[in-house]
């Protein structure tokens, strides 16, 4: 922590344990926001090819899109870089491991204990998801003379392979666990914990992570069903 002795508090903040965690929490809020928007946008798949394709067209034809993508990428990068730093520091904080260590059953759970692993799965998923769709095969179609990318066809084609379906749904299970601990953890990290509201906040966070992961799982399943029909 080279900048600890710096007179600049804000610079020190980014290298402090709590600062790093809060930067992860803030980036997580933005990523959850993005996930919600992504989930809502994808609902258009159910309305047929025209809706999702035109949605994609309007999204990509917006001149601010590269800026938004850059912003999103930097949020992801902040979240990932600080995650790696924190995981390494946490690993080094206990050089000799316990011979026998059991969780009390009143604290840690599967989701909280596997955050680095589910996070790593999400990273691998993210890379493949970008390759598969963002930089995937470009089919074209046209509506009322406008040439648009046929993402619907790509979607159906991609999920006609059951292996892709299984991998995507598995990734969404990891996503559910990651968010299950992650979203409610944001509140604690930024300092919001009250005996009165926290139990309710935790339940709502769990519900949100469940809604997100279940909804995201339905798209591949639906696409697969469509493809075999």
């Amino acid at each position: 922590m080279g900048c600890c002795s710096s007179n600049n508090n804000k610079f020190y903040y980014c290298s402090s344990s709590i600062g790093k965690k809060q930067l992860m929490a803030i980036s997580a809020v933005m990523l959850v926001g993005f996930s919600i928007a992504h989930m809502i946008g994808n609902v258009l798949i159910y309305f047929g090819p025209k809706y999702i394709n035109l949605y994609g067209y309007h999204l990509t034809s917006n001149l601010l899109l590269p800026l938004a993508e850059l912003l999103l990428a930097s949020i992801f990068i902040v979240h990932i870089i600080f995650a790696v730093i924190l995981v390494v520091e946490n690993y080094l904080a206990r050089p000799v491991k316990y011979h026998m260590k059991v969780n009390s059953g009143r604290g840690a759970n599967f989701a909280s204990a596997t955050m680095p692993w589910t996070g790593a799965i999400m990273l691998v998923f993210l890379i493949f998801h970008l390759i598969n769709f963002r930089f995937g095969t470009i089919y074209m179609t046209s509506y009322d003379g406008i040439e648009v990318r046929d993402v619907y066809r790509l979607l159906i084609e991609f999920f006609s392979n059951p292996l892709n379906l299984v991998l995507y749904v598995t990734a969404m299970i990891a996503f559910a666990f990651h968010l299950g601990h992650g979203i409610q953890s944001i509140f604690q990290t930024v300092g919001i914990n009250s005996p009165k509201y926290t139990p309710c906040i935790q339940k709502l966070c769990l519900l949100l992570s469940l809604v997100l992961s279940v909804m995201f799982s339905t798209y591949p399943i639906w696409s697969y069903i469509k493809s075999i029909q």
């Binding site: 600062g19 965690k21 059991v102």
Partner: protein, 266 residues
């Protein structure tokens, strides 16, 4: 011999033995016989040590002091849990009635980079003292005791402060944490002092300096798993960590001195 000759427990112990900080340690098996259900866990270790001394072997070194559950000297990770299986209880207050005849008990020291093993089960927890000396005090000159109602304190704050002050600094939170983080300890100290009028004056500086020291000493980062809260023998709550997080962020971005003007510190 004693009345327990026939009904005392036989226990199989696996104990971490390590000559000193720099040497590698290992788990060593011991068997203790005729252990009364009424003796405390540390007394059981005393009995083992007496046996070892009689046999001419080195006794097992472990920390203990008041044996009343209030000093924070005893430690030990028993069967994978700091201070053993009983909730809200220090090792010294744990009794052998919690175990059954023929049980195998695994006993290890608190493990963390910031808690180097001194010998066997004894670890050096002066890092917690270092965190305290970095800001866990009130240096405001308070003069003579004021008239009792001169400084009003909200009942709620008095209660929260007293709850946090129950921390005995044993380090079980660090031992239980998957990341060896000392956030519950620091959170308790920051809450205990910062919630009262005398401690408020230095609250921002305190939180800043204590977190900085905690980071320097090689404690891990909190991942909000609440294992610390679960094993804390004094029931220190996770809300103290939330307060620490909140006050650290505020002290980093909106620091003020007691006259309300902006202040710089390193």
């Amino acid at each position: 011999m004693s009345e327990y000759d026939n009904n005392g427990m036989t226990l199989f112990l696996k104990i971490w033995r390590q000559k000193c900080c720099s040497e590698k340690g290992e788990m060593v098996n011991y068997t203790v016989k005729n252990i009364s259900a009424d003796v405390s866990f540390l007394e059981m270790l005393d009995i083992l040590n007496q046996d070892l001394i009689k046999k001419g072997e080195e006794p097992v070194v472990f920390d203990h002091d008041c044996r009343e559950g209030i000093c924070g000297a005893c430690s030990l990770v028993i069967n994978g849990e700091p201070h053993g299986p009983e909730v809200l209880t220090t090792t010294c207050q744990l009794h052998m009635r919690k175990f059954k005849d023929g049980d195998t008990i695994v006993i290890e020291p608190f493990r963390a980079k910031a808690f180097p093993v001194v010998r066997d089960l004894m670890v050096d927890r002066t890092t917690l003292d270092d965190v305290i000396t970095s800001g866990g005090y009130i240096s405001a000159n308070t003069g003579a005791a004021p008239e009792s109602n001169a400084i009003p304190v909200r009942q709620e704050n008095a209660e929260l402060s007293m709850d946090a002050a129950a921390c005995i600094g044993c380090g079980a939170c660090v031992a239980a944490c998957g990341n060896a983080s000392a956030m519950l300890f620091v959170g308790a100290k920051v809450s205990h002092l910062g919630l009262l009028p005398q401690g408020k004056l230095e609250a921002q500086e305190r939180v800043h300096n204590m977190v900085k020291k905690m980071d320097e000493l090689g404690f891990g980062n909190c991942t909000n798993e609440a294992e610390c809260e679960a094993v804390c023998p004094k029931g220190i709550k996770l809300t103290n960590i939330a307060r620490l997080n909140r006050e650290f962020a505020v002290s980093s971005f909106f620091k003020k001195n007691d006259s309300g003007t902006k202040q710089e510190w390193s």
